[in-house]
C-alpha cells in the first residue's frame, strides 16, 4: 500500500502465505453499471426525436428545393393575354403583339398559342369539338426571358398596349411572392418543430439522467467516500449518456435517411404514371440532394451532442445536492 504521492513497503508481511497475483487485469466492472441506467428507453426516445427532426429537416429541404425550382421556372416566363374585342381580328392582334414582344431586349423565345392550341388548353374543362368562335376566349402568348436578365416589364407593357390596347402582360410576380411566403412559412414551421423536438429531447434526457442518478445514489456516495470529485463522477455517467445519445441519433437519423432513399425509389418507380407525374409536378423528383443527407447526418450528431450536454448539465446540478 502506498500513501498518496509516497511509496511504502507492504503494511503486513504475509511470508510464504503470499497469494499468486493473476496476470490479467481484474478491474473489469464499470464503476456505473450499464444496467442501472434506463438505456433502452432513452435510446428509443432519442431515436424517435432524431427521426422526427430528420423528417422535418428533409421535408423542409425538399419543399424549399421544389419551391425554388418553381420560382425560377415561373420567373423565367411571362404570359401575355390578348382579349378579343368586337370589330378586331384576334389573329392579327396576336401577331402584332408577338412582333412587339420579339423586339424587346431580353426575350429569347415567343410562342403564341394558335386557335387550335387554345382549344386544346380548354379541352379538359369544356370537352372536345369546341368552337372558340362562340366564346370570348383570350389568346395566350408565352415569352421566355433570358436567364439572369432584368426585363424592363414597364417598357414591355407599354409596347404591348401600344400594339393592341386589349392586351395585358402578367410576369407572375404575385405567384412568385406567394410561393416565397409559402416557402418561408414552411421553413419557419420546420424550425419551430425542430425547436420543439430538441426541447423535448432535453427534457427527456434530463429526466432520464435524474432517474439514473437517483438509482445510482449509493454509488455516487461511495465514490465521494473514496475521494472522487464531481467531475470524475459526472464523467463516469456522461460516457453512458453520450453513448446512448449517439446510438439513438444514429438509429433515428439512419432510419430517416433510409426513408428518404426509399421514397426516392418509389418516386422513380411511379414516374411516367399520372400519380407519379402529379407528385413530380408538386415535389419535383422527391429526391434529397447529398447536402440534404449531410444535413440529416449532422443533425443526428447534433441531437447526440445535445443529449450528452443535457445529461452533463443535469449530472452536475444533481451532484451538487449529494454530499
Amino acid at each position: 500500500m502506498s500513501r498518496i504521492g509516497e511509496e511504502h513497503g507492504p503494511l503486513m508481511d504475509l511470508g510464504t502465505d503470499r497469494p499468486q497475483v493473476p496476470a490479467k487485469a481484474r478491474n473489469a466492472s464499470p464503476i456505473v453499471p450499464r444496467g442501472s441506467i434506463a438505456g433502452r428507453a432513452l435510446v428509443a426516445v432519442v431515436a424517435i426525436m432524431t427521426f422526427l427532426a430528420s423528417i422535418t429537416t428533409g421535408a423542409v429541404l425538399l419543399i424549399s428545393a421544389s419551391a425554388s425550382e418553381w420560382q425560377s421556372e415561373v420567373a423565367s416566363e411571362i404570359t401575355i393575354q390578348v382579349k378579343p374585342l368586337g370589330g378586331r381580328d384576334l389573329d392579327r392582334d396576336t401577331q402584332a403583339v408577338t412582333e412587339a414582344i420579339r423586339g424587346q431586349p431580353g426575350i429569347v423565345e415567343v410562342q403564341p398559342y394558335s386557335r387550335e392550341q387554345s382549344a386544346q388548353l380548354l379541352e379538359p374543362w369544356l370537352g372536345t369539338g369546341l368552337s372558340l368562335d362562340d366564346l370570348p376566349v383570350p389568346r395566350v402568348i408565352i415569352a421566355r426571358v433570358a436567364p439572369g436578365t432584368a426585363l424592363d416589364i414597364i417598357g414591355l407593357r407599354q409596347r404591348v398596349t401600344q400594339a393592341v390596347p386589349s392586351a395585358s402582360v402578367d410576369d407572375h410576380r404575385a405567384w412568385v411572392e406567394r410561393m416565397r411566403s409559402m416557402t418561408s412559412a414552411t421553413v419557419l414551421a420546420g424550425l419551430g418543430i425542430l425547436a420543439l423536438v430538441i426541447m423535448a429531447t432535453i427534457i427527456s434526457v434530463s429526466f432520464a439522467t435524474r432517474g439514473a442518478m437517483a438509482a445510482n445514489r449509493p454509488i455516487v456516495e461511495v465514490l465521494h467516500f473514496v475521494g472522487a470529485g464531481d467531475r470524475y463522477i459526472a464523467n463516469r455517467f456522461f460516457r453512458h449518456f453520450l453513448r446512448l445519445g449517439l446510438q439513438g441519433g444514429i438509429i433515428g437519423g439512419g432510419a430517416a435517411m433510409l426513408m428518404f432513399g426509399f421514397s426516392e425509389s418509389i418516386a422513380s418507380w411511379f414516374s411516367g404514371t399520372p400519380v407519379g407525374d402529379q407528385f413530380a409536378a408538386l415535389l419535383g423528383t422527391f429526391s434529397l440532394r447529398s447536402s440534404g443527407y449531410l444535413a440529416v447526418a449532422g443533425q443526428a450528431l447534433l441531437i447526440a451532442g445535445i443529449t450528452a450536454w443535457a445529461s452533463r448539465r443535469t449530472l452536475f446540478s444533481t451532484l451538487n445536492d449529494i454530499e
Binding site: 449509493p218 461511495v222 472522487a228 470529485g229
Partner: protein, 219 residues
C-alpha cells in the same frame, strides 16, 4: 492535523446534538471514540469526514478551514481520509477486489501498479479466497473486512472507523485491531468509534467519550 473549536451540530431545527466540541487530533495519533448509543459518534465521524458541515464553530482539517473550501477541494481532502461505515457501503456490482481497489482507481492509477497490494491486503483480512465474490453473497463479517480494506488500502493520513469490529468474532476483531495499529505505526492517525470495551482494553490509547452531546477526553 484536525482541530475543532466550539463546534456545534444540529439537524434542521432540532436540538443541538453535538455541543461546544473543542479537541485536536494530532498526526500519527490513535484514539477510540466511545459513548452511549445516540450520543453522536457517527455524526462526529461525518463531521470529520466532511460529509456534514457544522452549524457553528471552526473545523480545521490538514491546516485548512473547511468553511472556506469548495466541493473539489473537499474531494481532494477526502482522498487523505479513509472511512469505514457501519453499513459498509460496498458497491454490489463490483467484486471484493474491485471494491477494495476503488480508491486507487479513482486516483487514476494503473491497475498493474496496485494489484499486488490489494491482493496482499485481502489475504491479510481473510478475504483471499473471496476476491471475485460480489458483496451480496458475502457475510456481514466479510463485508466489514472488505470495507476496512478499502478504507486503509491507500494508507490515508486519517482513518475513521465506525464500529469496525461489530460483526466479526473476537479473534478476527483482534486481527483487525492489529491492522489499525500497524497502519497507525506507519503514520496514519486513527479514530475508532466503538462500544466494545474489550476492544478498547486491548490497546492503550486516548479515549474520547461523547455524552449528552459533549466530548470528554481521557489521555
Amino acid at each position: 492535523m484536525v482541530r475543532f473549536e466550539n463546534v456545534g451540530l444540529r439537524y434542521g431545527l432540532g436540538p443541538e446534538i453535538l455541543r461546544d466540541l473543542n479537541f485536536q487530533i494530532p498526526a500519527h495519533s490513535f484514539q477510540f471514540l466511545t459513548g452511549p448509543s445516540g450520543a453522536g459518534k457517527t455524526s462526529l465521524l461525518r463531521l470529520l469526514f466532511l460529509s456534514l458541515r457544522p452549524t457553528r464553530g471552526l473545523v480545521n482539517l490538514f491546516g485548512q478551514d473547511i468553511s472556506l473550501l469548495g466541493k473539489d477541494e473537499i474531494a481532494d481532502l477526502r482522498k487523505r481520509i479513509g472511512i469505514v461505515l457501519q453499513d459498509f457501503r460496498l458497491l454490489d456490482h463490483m467484486t471484493t477486489y474491485e471494491n477494495v481497489a476503488l480508491p486507487f482507481r479513482v486516483m487514476g492509477r494503473e491497475e498493474s501498479s496496485y494489484r499486488r497490494e490489494v491482493i496482499d491486503l485481502l489475504k491479510w483480512v481473510g478475504l483471499g479466497d473471496r476476491m471475485d465474490a460480489l458483496p451480496p453473497i458475502l457475510s456481514g463479517g466479510e463485508k466489514q473486512r472488505a470495507a476496512i480494506a478499502r478504507a486503509v488500502i491507500a494508507r490515508p493520513m486519517l482513518l475513521l472507523a465506525d464500529e469496525p469490529t461489530g460483526n466479526v468474532d473476537p479473534t478476527l476483531g483482534r486481527r483487525l485491531l492489529r491492522l489499525f495499529i500497524e497502519l497507525n505505526k506507519s503514520g496514519t492517525a486513527v479514530i475508532i468509534a466503538t462500544h466494545d470495551i474489550t476492544l478498547m482494553d486491548q490497546y492503550d490509547a486516548r479515549r474520547m467519550v461523547l455524552h449528552q452531546g459533549r466530548l470528554h477526553i481521557y489521555e
